[in-house]
C-alpha cells in the first residue's frame, strides 16, 4: 500500500514513523518548507543563537532512508480525490492509496491595512525565520501584534539582540484569556522586567508605508498613537493551512473535518495535526488544537488506524507547557481563565514573583481538577494520575512532593502550599514525606 503524507511536521512524521513500525507500507512525505523534519518549536532558538538549524532536526538526515521513508521536497498544488492523485509544484503527479493531510497552520492576518508590506510578517515557518533574520540588521524597533505564545517568543528573540520591542496586546493582561488573573499579571510584570514595551488593551489600526512599500510604523486604534518601527511581527494566532484544499469535495470548515478515527469525509483520506478540525472533540477539548503533542498523538493514533488497529483518538487529560522569557509554565488538567462555578483554587505565589502554584479542585466534592505551575516543574504522570482518579485535594496536598520535578537541591514549596491551605481552611493535615523517586515510582505503579 502506498501511503502519502502531505506535511513533514510532527504530525506527519509521527504518522510515518509509526506506520513504519507497524507495517511494510510504502511511505512518502511531501513538504515544501524544509527538506527534512525540524522542530518548529525551536525556531526562536535559532534566531537567538542557542542552536543552529541543524540542531533542531530531531533525526539525522540518514534516518529517513534507513527507515524507508521517502522524502519529497515539493509543494502540493492540488489533490484530485477521485483519481487519488496529487499535483506537485514540479508539475509531476503522484498517486496514493491512502492520503494523510498534515499541513499544519499559517499565521493569521486580519485584513489590517499594510499587512502585506515589506517588513511585516508572522512567525511560523523556517522561511518566516529567515525573513526575520534578513530584516534584523539595523532594526531600531520592532512591533509585535498579538500577545499569544508566539508573540512573546518573538519579543524574546528581538530582545536577545537588544532590539527594542513594543508588544500590542488586545487583552487587559498578557494572555488573560487563558491564564487566571494572578498568573497573567505575573507574566505581564515579567515581560516589563525584560524591558519590553508592553501595551495592554490595545489593537492595531494600521501599518504605515514609508512610501517604498516598506513598513515604517504602526498606528494604535484606541489612542491613535503612532509608533515608528522597521519590523512588524504578526502573531495574532494561527489557523489551518488548507487553502489548496478549499473548493474540493473535502469537507472543511476552519480546518479539515475529521471524526474520532481521524478520517475525513472522503475514504482513504485522513487529516491530523494543526490542520485538522474534530467534528466531535472529547469533552473539554477544542476542535482545533494547534499544539505539538496533539499532533504527535494524532500521528500515532492514525498510524494504528491505517495499519488495521481501529483506535479512536483520545488526547486524554489536557496538559501543555510554555516558557515566558525565564519563567517556565506547565499546566495539567483544566485551569481556566474564567472558571465555572464549581471550580475553586488554592493559589500560592513566591514572594519573588516568578514562581506560583495553582491547584484547582471541585468546590463541592474537593476532587482535584488541575494544576497551573509557573517557575516550578511538576511531574506529568503524577498530576495526570491524580486528576484521572479524582483524588481529593487534601490527599494531593499531603503527597504533593510526589509531583515535584524541579532539579535536585531546589527549594521545595510543598510545605508552604500546605500551610496556605491550612490557614485558609483551618484543617490540620501534614505533608507525607519528602521528594523521593522510589515513592514516585511506587505511586505510579499501583
Amino acid at each position: 500500500m502506498n501511503v502519502v503524507i502531505i506535511g513533514n511536521g510532527i504530525s506527519g512524521v509521527t504518522a510515518a514513523r509509526f506506520i513504519r513500525k507497524l507495517s511494510d507500507h510504502q511511505i512518502t512525505i511531501i513538504s515544501s518548507e524544509t527538506a527534512h523534519f525540524y522542530s518548529r518549536t525551536a525556531l526562536m532558538y535559532i534566531y537567538m543563537g542557542h542552536m543552529r538549524y541543524e540542531d533542531t532536526k530531531p533525526y539525522e538526515d540518514w534516518f529517513w532512508d534507513k527507515n524507508r521513508i521517502n522524502l519529497v521536497y515539493a509543494h502540493v498544488e492540488k489533490v484530485h480525490f477521485n483519481e487519488k492523485k496529487l499535483i506537485l509544484s514540479s508539475g509531476n503527479d503522484m498517486n496514493y492509496d491512502k492520503l494523510i493531510i498534515a499541513t499544519g497552520s499559517k499565521s493569521n492576518k486580519f485584513g489590517w491595512p499594510g499587512q502585506d508590506l515589506e517588513g511585516v510578517r508572522g512567525l511560523y515557518s523556517k522561511q518566516d525565520l529567515d525573513y526575520m533574520e534578513a530584516h534584523s540588521k539595523g532594526l531600531k524597533r520592532a512591533v509585535i501584534v498579538g500577545g499569544g505564545l508566539i508573540g512573546i517568543e518573538m519579543a524574546e528573540m528581538f530582545a536577545s539582540r537588544n532590539i527594542p520591542v513594543t508588544m500590542l496586546v488586545r487583552e487587559q493582561n498578557y494572555w488573560d484569556n487563558v491564564l487566571p488573573p494572578e498568573e497573567s499579571k505575573m507574566i505581564s510584570k515579567h515581560i516589563l522586567d525584560h524591558h519590553i514595551d508592553l501595551r495592554l488593551g490595545v489593537n492595531l489600526e494600521s501599518i504605515k508605508d514609508n512610501g517604498n512599500g516598506v513598513a515604517c510604523g504602526v498606528k494604535i486604534k484606541e489612542t491613535g498613537e503612532e509608533i515608528p518601527c522597521q519590523y512588524v511581527g504578526l502573531t495574532a494566532g494561527v489557523s489551518p493551512s488548507i487553502d489548496f484544499l478549499k473548493d474540493s469535495e473535502l469537507n472543511t470548515n476552519r480546518g479539515v473535518i475529521v471524526n474520532e478515527y481521524l478520517a475525513t469525509n472522503i475514504p482513504d483520506v485522513y487529516a491530523i495535526g494543526d490542520c485538522s478540525e474534530h467534528s466531535n472533540p472529547a469533552p473539554g477539548r477544542r476542535p482545533i488544537e494547534a499544539i505539538w503533542y496533539t499532533g504527535r498523538m494524532m500521528g500515532e493514533t492514525l498510524a494504528h488506524n491505517i495499519c488495521g488497529n481501529k483506535i479512536p483518538y483520545n488526547p486524554g487529560i489536557w496538559f501543555n507547557s510554555a516558557k515566558f522569557f525565564d519563567i517556565e509554565y506547565q499546566v495539567y488538567g483544566d485551569v481556566l481563565a474564567k472558571p465555572p462555578e464549581n471550580h475553586a483554587s488554592l493559589f500560592w505565589m513566591h514572594e519573588d514573583g516568578t514562581k506560583s502554584i495553582r491547584i484547582v479542585y471541585d468546590k463541592n466534592s474537593e476532587e482535584i481538577i488541575g494544576f497551573n505551575l509557573f517557575g516550578i516543574r511538576y511531574r506529568h504522570e503524577v498530576c495526570e494520575k491524580w486528576i484521572r482518579e479524582k483524588t481529593l485535594l487534601s490527599d494531593v496536598l499531603q503527597n504533593l512532593s510526589l509531583a515535584n520535578f524541579d532539579p535536585e537541591f531546589y527549594d521545595a514549596y510543598e510545605k508552604e502550599v500546605l500551610a496556605l491551605y491550612k490557614k485558609q481552611t483551618g484543617k490540620q493535615i501534614e505533608l507525607r514525606g519528602k521528594r523521593n523517586f522510589n515513592r514516585v515510582l511506587k505511586f505510579l505503579k499501583n
Binding site: 530531531p58 536577545s160 506529568h380
Partner: protein
C-alpha cells in the same frame, strides 16, 4: 555588552598578552652556579665544554639561542664522557653518574635555563607575578561580575553567533583532528627516540577503529549533520585552540622554553611547599586560578539553578584543596605529593615503580595513600557510582571535569551528537581502558618479577608510550586544546579510562538515570545541543524514555536548559534493572500504548 565587561575583557586580553610576551622578556647567562647537574663528572665536563665554546658568562638575549647553546654543551660533554667511559669508569661510580644520558640532558637544559635567567623577568618576578595574574583575574572578574546583574535564567544568547564559540564545519574539524593526530604521532616517533613500533601500532589501531565504525557499524554513509556556518568562521575559537595546543606542547615536552613562566611562580611554590616551582606547579597554579575564576562565571550564568551552583563550588573546592594545596603542603611536611581524589586509571602512574616505592617508603602516611588509592579503585568507584551515577566523580570532583565545567562551559554545545560519533566514542574510550589495564599489568609484572620484557613488549617502553599518547597528547593537547573545536569534554568522552570504568558501572548497576516528564517534550533540541557528552538526549526525551547512558556525567545542564521542564536527574532503586526500557512511557493515549511494543 556592559561597558565594564568590555574593559574587563580588554584587561584580561592584555594580561594574557603580557604573559605570553614574558616568554621573550628575559636574558640568560650561564654561570658556574647556574649550571645544573646531578653529578660532579657531568659538571666538570660541562664546564670544560662551556669554556671551549666560550659560553660561560656570555649573555643571551633570548632563550632559543641560549637553549641551543646549552644543548650543544651537553652534546659535547656527552660525547667526551662516552669516549672516556670506553677507557673505564672510575671505581665505585655508577655508569650513569659518569656517562651523560639523554633523559638527564633534558632535565639539565630545563633546570639550567630556569636558573640562568638574568634579564627583565628574573629581576622583576614579583612585579610581573602580581601584574599578570592580578590584572588577569581582575579583568576576568570585571567581565563576570556584571553577569550577576542580569535576570536569572538561561543565558545562551548569541553562542552560535560568536566567533569564539560557534565551532567549525565538519570538514574543518576533521582537518584539525587529522593534522593534530598525525603531528602528535610524528612527534611521538621522536619522543620515543626514533622507535617507530608503538606509533605504528597506534596508527594501525586508529585505522582499525575507523574501519570498524565505517563498515562494521555501517556508519560510512551516515554523514553527520554539517554545521550551519558554511565556512570556518570561528576564528577566535581556532586561535584559542591553537594557543591551548601550543601551551600543552610546551608544558609537557618543551618546558625549557617556558622557564620564565615558572620563575614567576617560584615565590608561590616556595611559600607553599618550600621548593622552587616546576612546570607541574605552574600548571597546577594556572589550572586552579582558571577553575576558580571561570567557576564564578559558571555560577553567575546558572545562578537560578542550585544543582549547578553546588556542583561548581564542589569542583572549585576539589581543585583548590585536593589537587593544588594539599599535595604541596604534604611536600612541605616531607610526605609524598599526593592528590587524594585522583584515581587510577586516570592517575595512570599510580602503579609505577617509583610511585609504589615512594609510597611504601614514606611511613604510615605513604601506606595510607597506597591503601586509599586502591580502596577508591575497588570499592569507592563502584559503590558511590551505584548510588549516584558517575556524576559524583566526573562533574563534582574530578579536575579534568572541573576544567571542562568551568573554562569549558562556553564550548559545551560543540560536542558531536551524531550516531557516528557515539560509535567512535565507544571503541576509543574502551580501547583506552584496555590499553591502560594492559600497560598497568605489564608494569606491575615487571615490578614484582624484575622482568621487563613480556612477549614482544617492554614494560618501560609501553608505559612511556602510554604516558605520551594518552597521558599527555590525548588528555592535554587534544583534551583541552580541542575545547573550541570539539567541545569541552573531548577527553572525558573519548579518552578517559576512568570515565570508561565509571560508565560501565553506571550503565549496568546504578540507581542513576535521567527521567523524562511524560508527554511534555517538544523536541526542541536544547538538551542535545548543550549536552557536553554528545548524548542525543532529545532522542530519548521525545519518546518518554529514561536516559541511561554510560557517558552521561550528570552535569544537569540538559535539565537546566530544557524550556519545558522535561528532564530530571534521579536516583532510585525500584526499577533499577529496567531503567532504560520504554515501559514507563506514559503516553497520552494511555490505553492504546499497550498496542505498540
Amino acid at each position: 555588552m556592559h561597558i565594564l565587561q568590555k574593559i574587563g575583557l580588554a584587561i584580561l586580553i592584555a594580561a594574557i598578552g603580557l604573559f605570553i610576551l614574558s616568554l621573550g622578556l628575559n636574558s640568560y647567562q650561564l654561570q658556574e652556579e647556574t649550571l645544573y647537574t646531578e653529578s660532579d663528572f657531568h659538571k666538570a665536563e660541562l664546564l670544560k665544554a662551556a669554556e671551549n665554546q666560550g659560553i660561560l658568562n656570555e649573555t643571551y638575549g633570548n632563550n632559543i639561542s641560549f637553549i641551543k647553546a646549552i644543548k650543544s654543551l651537553c652534546k659535547e660533554a656527552q660525547k667526551s664522557l662516552e669516549a672516556q667511559a670506553a677507557n673505564g669508569i672510575p671505581e665505585g661510580v655508577g655508569e650513569w653518574d659518569y656517562k651523560l644520558g639523554d633523559w638527564k640532558i633534558k632535565d639539565y637544559v630545563f633546570q639550567t635555563t630556569k636558573a640562568s635567567g638574568v634579564g627583565f623577568v628574573s629581576r622583576n618576578t614579583l612585579t610581573l607575578l602580581y601584574t599578570i595574574f592580578g590584572l588577569g583575574i581582575f579583568g576576568a572578574l570585571l567581565y563576570i561580575i556584571p553577569l550577576f546583574q542580569k535576570l536569572p535564567g538561561i543565558k545562551n544568547d548569541g553562542i552560535y553567533h560568536s566567533s569564539m564559540t560557534r565551532g567549525l564545519t565538519l570538514n574543518w574539524r576533521t582537518f584539525f583532528l587529522i593534522t593534530t593526530t598525525i603531528g602528535l604521532l610524528l612527534y611521538g616517533v621522536m619522543y620515543m627516540g626514533s622507535q617507530v613500533f608503538w606509533p605504528l601500532v597506534t596508527l594501525a589501531v586508529i585505522g582499525l577503529i575507523v574501519y570498524l565504525v565505517y563498515f562494521r557499524e555501517k556508519q560510512k554513509d551516515k554523514i553527520p549533520p554539517k554545521s550551519a556556518s558554511p565556512d570556518v568562521t570561528a576564528w577566535f575559537g581556532i586561535i584559542t585552540g591553537i594557543l591551548l595546543i601550543g601551551f600543552y606542547i610546551l608544558l609537557y615536552w618543551k618546558p625549557e622554553y617556558i622557564t620564565n613562566w615558572i620563575v614567576l611562580v617560584d615565590p608561590v611554590s616556595e611559600k607553599l611547599s618550600g621548593n622552587p616551582a616546576s612546570n607541574w606547579f605552574l600548571y597546577g597554579f594556572l589550572y586552579t586560578i582558571i577553575v576558580i575564576v571561570m567557576g564564578i562565571r559558571m555560577i553567575a550564568k546558572y545562578r537560578h539553578n542550585k544543582y549547578q551552583i553546588f556542583r561548581t563550588f564542589s569542583v572549585m573546592f576539589f581543585q583548590t584543596a585536593f589537587a593544588f594545596l594539599i599535595p604541596e603542603i604534604l611536600v612541605r611536611l616531607n610526605q609524598p605529593w599526593y592528590d587524594f581524589k585522583n584515581i587510577w586509571p586516570l592517575n595512570y602512574n599510580f602503579f609505577f615503580d617509583y610511585n609504589l616505592d615512594t609510597l611504601t617508603s614514606s611511613g604510615s602516611m605513604g601506606l595510607f595513600m597506597l591503601f586509599w588509592g586502591i580502596i577508591l579503585i575497588l570499592i569507592g568507584v563502584p559503590v558511590i557510582t551505584y548510588f549516584f551515577g558517575k556524576r559524583w566523580y566526573c562533574s563534582w570532583v574530578c579536575g579534568c571535569g572541573g576544567l571542562a565545567e568551568t573554562m569549558g562551559d562556553p564550548y559545551r554545545q560543540l560536542s558531536d551528537k551524531s550516531l557516528r560519533a557515539w560509535k567512535y566514542e565507544r571503541y576509543i574510550i574502551h580501547g583506552v581502558l584496555v590499553f591502560a589495564v594492559i600497560m598497568t599489568l605489564l608494569v606491575l609484572y615487571s615490578y614484582f618479577t624484575g622482568n621487563k620484557n613480556i612477549l614482544f613488549m617492554n614494560s618501560d617502553t609501553v608505559r612511556t608510550w602510554y604516558g605520551f599518547l594518552i597521558g599527555s597528547a590525548f588528555a592535554g593537547v587534544v583534551g583541552t586544546g580541542f575545547y573550541p573545536l570539539m567541545g569541552n569534554r573531548t577527553w572525558c568522552r573519548f579518552g578517559c579510562p576512568l570515565a570508561a570504568y565509571l560508565g560501565l558501572v553506571q550503565k549496568f548497576k546504578s540507581r542513576f538515570r535521567i527521567t523524562t516528564n511524560g508527554g511534555q517534550c517538544i523536541s526542541c533540541g536544547n538538551c542535545s545541543t548543550y549536552c557536553e557528552m554528545g548524548i542525543d538526549v532529545r532522542w530519548y526525551a521525545q519518546r518518554g524514555q529514561d536516559i541511561v547512558r554510560s557517558s552521561c556525567v550528570g552535569c544537569g545542564v540538559c535539565s537546566a536548559v530544557c524550556p519545558r521542564g522535561v528532564l530530571r536527574l534521579e536516583n532510585g532503586t525500584v526499577d533499577m534493572d529496567n531503567r532504560a526500557e520504554e515501559t514507563r512511557v506514559i503516553h497520552i493515549s494511555e490505553d492504546e500504548v499497550s498496542l505498540i511494543q
